[in-house]
């Protein structure tokens, strides 16, 4: 485990020059630089990040707080963030927190409190204004996926718009009896995604002259079994059965499709289904969807925080950024069967 001193001796220069040569800061002649690099290589030298951090005040780590790992949306974000971070020479510290308010704030305090990261990326984490201010006042850039969040640059798809798009697709096909299978709007987490998607749905059907019936919204967990259970229940009763379902995410949509099949209904003949996400499984199920790219959202968030760190004076967008979501039409949506 050789230190900078050894390299300096071997290269016949001072520690200061070694530091400058290796970090690329300050003046070093080309000749010296190659000599130092060679010495470092032969000794297998590598700077001690603790020593370096101590003096520079930078850790080269960025913290990522995420409520969930084993779900496509979150997993993809992590992938995108990790890739972008490593490309730029930063390491990723992962903090998995549940969505409960208590744990959220515990992690938050934990973060604030430790001098281990240069920046933080908060995924689907509602940070209060004072918390944000405190973090910002520490000089740590922060970006959020989800939002909006006051004082913090955030990004996400436009949930209202995505829901409207999905619903309009169904309306355009001629559906009138459309049920929205979404989340529980009393769950205050996730920046009210649930209520936003519900709103988009509602606005779309009302714009089409259909009055909103609270019965046409049913809540379920955001996974395949969640969609399946609701599907079974909803489609089991022929009198209540809609001609189309707008699922708030593809997993739920897939669950609904599976339930429909099991009940002997064909998709899209007896039932159209649309989701949001463009999940990798959706293609297999022919599920029409509003696609988004969580990995790119992760990359974007990384870009924001790193630029703040590296480009003095640069500031990220001051308001929430909407990333694009586009309709991917597959075989799960079609005009409703004409029932005479």
């Amino acid at each position: 485990m050789s230190g900078i001193e050894d390299v300096a001796t071997l290269a016949g220069v001072s520690k200061a020059t070694v530091s400058r040569a290796l970090s690329g800061r300050g003046y070093v002649s080309a000749e010296t630089r190659t000599r130092v690099s060679a010495a470092a290589a032969t000794l297998g030298y590598v700077v001690s990040s603790s020593a370096s951090s101590l003096v520079t005040g930078r850790t080269n780590n960025v913290g990522v707080i995420i409520p969930e790992i084993n779900q496509w949306f979150f997993g993809s974000i992590i992938e995108g963030v990790e890739r972008a971070l490593l490309d730029r020479g930063y390491d990723l510290m992962l903090y998995n927190t549940s969505k409960t308010v208590e744990e959220r704030s515990r992690v938050f305090e934990y973060f604030l409190v430790r001098k281990r990261v240069d920046a933080v990326i908060a995924v689907t984490l509602e940070i209060t204004a004072p918390e944000a201010e405190r973090l910002l006042s520490l000089g740590k850039p922060i970006a959020g996926i989800g939002g909006p969040l006051v004082g913090i640059p955030t990004l996400s798809i436009d949930d209202v718009e995505a829901a409207r798009l999905a619903t309009e697709h169904l309306l355009l096909l001629g559906h009138r009896a459309i049920v929205h299978v979404g989340g529980d709007i009393d769950e205050q987490m996730d920046f009210h995604v649930h209520s936003k998607r519900l709103r988009g749905y509602r606005e779309a059907i009302e714009a089409a002259g259909i009055s909103y019936d609270p019965e046409s919204h049913v809540a379920t967990p955001f996974d395949i079994p969640g969609g399946y259970r609701v599907g079974k229940q909803l489609l089991g009763d022929p009198r209540r059965r809609p001609t189309a379902v707008f699922a708030a995410c593809d997993e739920v949509g897939i669950g609904v499709i599976l339930a429909a099949r099991e009940l002997g209904l064909s998709v899209p003949e007896d039932l159209s289904v649309i989701g949001i996400d463009d999940h990798p499984l959706s293609e297999m199920f022919g599920l029409t969807s509003i696609g988004q790219r969580p990995d790119l959202q992760g990359e974007q968030a990384v870009d924001w925080v790193i630029r703040q760190l590296e480009e003095p004076g640069w500031t990220p967008p001051s308001k929430h950024t909407f990333v694009p979501a586009r309709l991917v039409i597959r075989s799960s949506t079609a005009p409703p069967r004409r029932v005479g």
Copy 2:
């Protein structure tokens, strides 16, 4: 941003005492300790981990190298590792590497080269003996999930045994025409899981007096679409159709079930299916499986490395550890239909 000096002044003691009081090392009177804690609290003081690391030589980070995130098995490992690490006061640095040999070794070098982690947990990463030795010689504990790996403590389920168990379950039900849908055994990654599971299958059927037919093993990617495609192909031809499928993982098994349903076959009447993993979706599909708990494997790996770090003299198991896998019987397996 207050330092230890400020706390010392406020508490009316020396820096040395503050350090001792806060870290719990060395003698400090109870009275002093509370006074110091109070001072630290009012100032919002928190030790600088770089400064601390610089003198102690510990970073309190552990690196996790993992080839994949968005897959249940890997995601669960990360969850388990993260939980265990945070419980013990360590932070998790995540490195997502693909399975290609080049990238594997690049990450490996990267790791070796940087003094940023106290230990590493390598998931499904085949480290060569010299690499392992080099890592160990740096005094960094390392543990692997997957394996075995010489010189490194590793753990995994017994793939041969799990495959045998699954196949025997089918044999016991009376099946003779059993196809194994697994991975490509030429993929050298993952410690040959593919060939091990194939071996377990083969040993089981041969023990039952059935001769092994290479046609009865078909390879496909380890995901639902992979199983689906193979299922469609395999079950489409009634003459080739087996009475049972042993899928090398549950995702594949689910894909096969979906394919079967689509072809109008009922499971388990027309086809029995068994998988490995006990994936969260398996319950919904009634998939019989050999269950494993990747999260617990992650916790175990953490325990190994942390104990090495904290209990001088403690050494992890010198050979590979098999973790339990148990048969979970659901509705996808039954005796074959009697075809008279």
